[in-house]
Amino acid sequence: MSAAFDILLCLMILATAGIALFVRGAFAAIAFFIAFGNLLGLAWLALGAVNVALAEIAVGAGVTGVALILACSRLFELGDNLADVRTPLASRLGSAALCLGFTVMLAGVVLTIPPGDRLSKVVAPLLPGLGIENPVTGVLLAFRGYDTLLETFVLLGALVAAWSLTPDASRRLPPTTMVMTDPTSRIVAEAFTRLLAPAALIIAAYLVWVGSDLPGGAFQAGAVLAGALVVATLGGVVVLPRLDSLAARIALMVGPLTFLAIGLAGAALGGRFLAYPDGLEKTLIVTIEYALAISIAAGLALLAIGPPQPMPNNARADAR
């Protein structure tokens, strides 16, 4: 039964991906991309990787989907109808042959590798020393904390790069100019956000807290919070701060700064960079995770909503 479930799930994943990639309409493509993300989340559950499933559901489908939808709406308003320019038949056939060969080879290669859990036997004996039980958190925050540290800076860098695209004039604007068209639906959105926000906050805090022992952690929690922030922003309940405002800077920097400072403190106290002193491992890991969750939430929300858009028809809206 489980095998049949896996196969059906994989077929559905392939079908949604195919439609998302090749359907004509851009919005339909993104709709299917979101469904694809949901199904991927299920695939991770089926694989027993609940940590990844949480991240995929919240980040992959949620934040990426929102960023793409908003980009498409904005492009429509700018007169770009996302028309599909047909590449010449010969180049399509060539690409198809190339990619078919590549896929067959890759699939063949994948089948030569026996699936198996390679490192959990190495990870497991080290976890008691950290005082945590979730091996994924152990890998992310301790054994490969260096990767995670650098990755938080990638997130920050993407945000800076996105914001440095905006001309000075619209930098004064808050980062969203997207609202609901219909006043009634706006009331619904507001009420909904008031219900959602506290729930999201509680779930995020819970995910960080259980993250040291059960699936969860800073990224998942941050993504949940970001999702709530996005809904609240789109509903007009919250106005996200500008990137150069004090609030945004503090929220964005608290995570990377805490992580970096604790890493350097470990080195200064005679250990190694990013080594946790004996006995303090869990405390420090949870501290870093809470700080990271805040920064990730702020970063993902700002990225999903995008930098302020100077809309060409803003003037017309003012005149109305």
Partner: protein
């Protein structure tokens, strides 16, 4: 018992496939949004069933998160830029069809 939950998960998955078919056929954008929402709901169901089948509480957390975030995408779909001209689409109807 776990087989029964697996069967349930499978059935929900099949219903999700039906929703996907609807999302593909359209014909209107509202159909598509609702169908994608149905896929999201189905995901919650499958996650719960899988969690029960495998006896893993973490999967319920995944279902919880999925429920919480189900509204994120749809609330982005129904958004228009502030002051947007409505020449491209009828008012109040998100333009999925293009």
């Amino acid at each position: 018992m776990s087989e029964a939950f697996m069967l349930a998960a499978m059935l929900v998955l099949v219903s999700m496939a039906a929703a996907l078919l609807r999302a593909w056929r359209g014909p209107t954008s509202v159909d598509r949004i609702m169908a994608v929402q149905l896929v999201g709901t189905g995901m919650v169901g499958v996650a719960v069933a899988l969690g029960a089948a495998r006896n893993e509480a973490g999967m319920l957390d995944a279902a919880l998160v999925a429920t919480l975030l189900a509204a994120v995408a749809v609330s982005a779909f129904v958004r228009r830029p502030e002051g947007a001209a409505t020449s491209h689409s009828k008012p109040n109807s998100p333009s999925l069809d293009r």
